[in-house]
Symmetry: C2
Subunit: 345 residues, 2 copies
Amino acid sequence: MPKGPDRRVTIVDVAKHAGVSTTAVSKVLRNAYGASPEMQARVRAAISELNYRPSAAARGLRGQTYTIGVMLPDIRNPFFADILDGVNEQLGGTDYQVLIASSCNDEPGEAHVTDAMIDRNMDGVILIAPLSSRQRLERIARTVPTVVVGRHGASAVHDNVADDDFTGAGLIVGHLAALGHQRIAHIEHHETDAVRLTEMPNAIRADGYRHAMHANGLGEFVDIASTTYTQQGGYLGAKQLLARGQRPTAIFAGADIVAMGVLDALAEAGLSVPGDISVAGYDNTTFAAFGPISLTTVDQAGHQIGANTARMLLDRIADPTRPAAQVKLSPTLVPRRTTAPPVPS
Amino acid sequence: MPKGPDRRVTIVDVAKHAGVSTTAVSKVLRNAYGASPEMQARVRAAISELNYRPSAAARGLRGQTYTIGVMLPDIRNPFFADILDGVNEQLGGTDYQVLIASSCNDEPGEAHVTDAMIDRNMDGVILIAPLSSRQRLERIARTVPTVVVGRHGASAVHDNVADDDFTGAGLIVGHLAALGHQRIAHIEHHETDAVRLTEMPNAIRADGYRHAMHANGLGEFVDIASTTYTQQGGYLGAKQLLARGQRPTAIFAGADIVAMGVLDALAEAGLSVPGDISVAGYDNTTFAAFGPISLTTVDQAGHQIGANTARMLLDRIADPTRPAAQVKLSPTLVPRRTTAPPVPS
DNA sequence: ATGAAAGCGCTAACAA
DNA sequence: TTGTTAGCGCTTTCAT
């Protein structure tokens, strides 16, 4: 077992080897004030000679763990990978290690994960599209520096990075309306919780859809299928929409992954895209950019979101009392080949 | 800041509240021997009343951290998500928390991540398709219970779970040959390291391809583009193959994600699939199953791999001295719509 | 069966 | 600038 004659090298060994105190070593480790250049050199030499690595576990008990936790609802959604890229880019050069926890797609699961991060004394956490109650989020944020991504509704205690989903949905509707579509349907992620209805991106997108339909004089054509933001949800949603009396000429899926399911269902129904029906997504995932698919979508600049998030978290860790900031990024339309003017029937 | 009037509840608080010793509480926490049912009840009551949660950081200093690290080379590859599902399924009910570290696509990056896991006293680690030297892998495994996934070449010190890539590549070649293809090209992940050439799945697949080509009497048609296992690699690889004198009638991409790039390049070149050219991948990712794509591929049963891996790791954590085990799973062919007989030219 | 006490490896007051 | 020392919250001998 991991317990040979080669016991782990500790700070004491380093101190002994360098002929200094453990305090001195500790100071050098943390670039803290109070170590002469000469001392630094000796300690560093000892560190590399002994191949010493500080135990993050022990550090965590007193100081920092140099660990940042990222909670992801769904590791399969490529949009989240974009965010992670941005986070890693910012944190790559630092001493922080990013650790991801995924597959927590319900409130108990989320609670489990966030508790685990707190138990492990993480220095900061990034919560991506969390569905926990506002109260819980704030409790977490009071315990550990927190940045919430992709959820509307500001807080005084945690920073917030979100995309303007309301505008984004409007971009798609406007695009389709400009092409001449009227029967523009939408597939949303079903939501009942009152708070989440005002804070979750999916709900905001649905709101934006409704608003934009009215703004474009298409109020009477509002047509929504309520499923989930998954491929399966897109598939079922499309089936529902096709089964309704008047078939839509365009479907605005609330997320690219949903659009995948829609395309699947349409192919199965023998409908061509965009010949018979236009399809648009949301997120501009790599999948949407994929040539043979070429999905019209909305770009949220996941990379940029991630980079912003990481920077804000570092700032908050450095000064936990700083006032909470809200960053709202503007989405852009990415028209591709799945949308075209409707065929005159 | 995380330092209000509400100091974190510790084991001492619980002990005090229950009127017992901290030792007793510790025993109850770990279901250790030496606590009467009555004592258990009292302690558990105190725990839930005070809403106590043990600090994983502190535990790590003495005992376990109840943390399992998973190193992933690429979070975008859906195959890895399948593996994770399997892992999470096995570990979901346990006290262990799975933490993922990603984006370590080179040896220094890998070293950084594995060191970070060791520094954090993780109880076990799962290394997925690592490219570190055998020596380094063994050093890691001697320090912490380890299971290596997707790398051939056994070790006495860590468990091993891998797919039979050699056979898998043969399945694709056999399938294409049976359809009547002769000019079957392959896109591989470039590899030069001598050890990795015998241990990495990508190299084994390329070997399997060559072997199967010869076995099918197609030795003279062996045609390989050497890029990387990424979408971009597939795109470039296909471009290369198309630029060569005799165009292949089928392309066997070493991974589904590579096939995505291939399809992209073919669409761009105005070639239809499978009309002009057949395409096959490897991994059976969700993307491959996606209706409008419907990619012929090889199923590695990622879920099963993950489940096996997690089980083996738990066993090894329970008894680190148990002999190392090797699990080799058999891949299966999943024929879909991207492969068809070649057009008689 | 229970508890007292000694650390685990590190950081941070405080003294020198 | 340096070192001494007291913990951080938990686990684990070892008495009782």
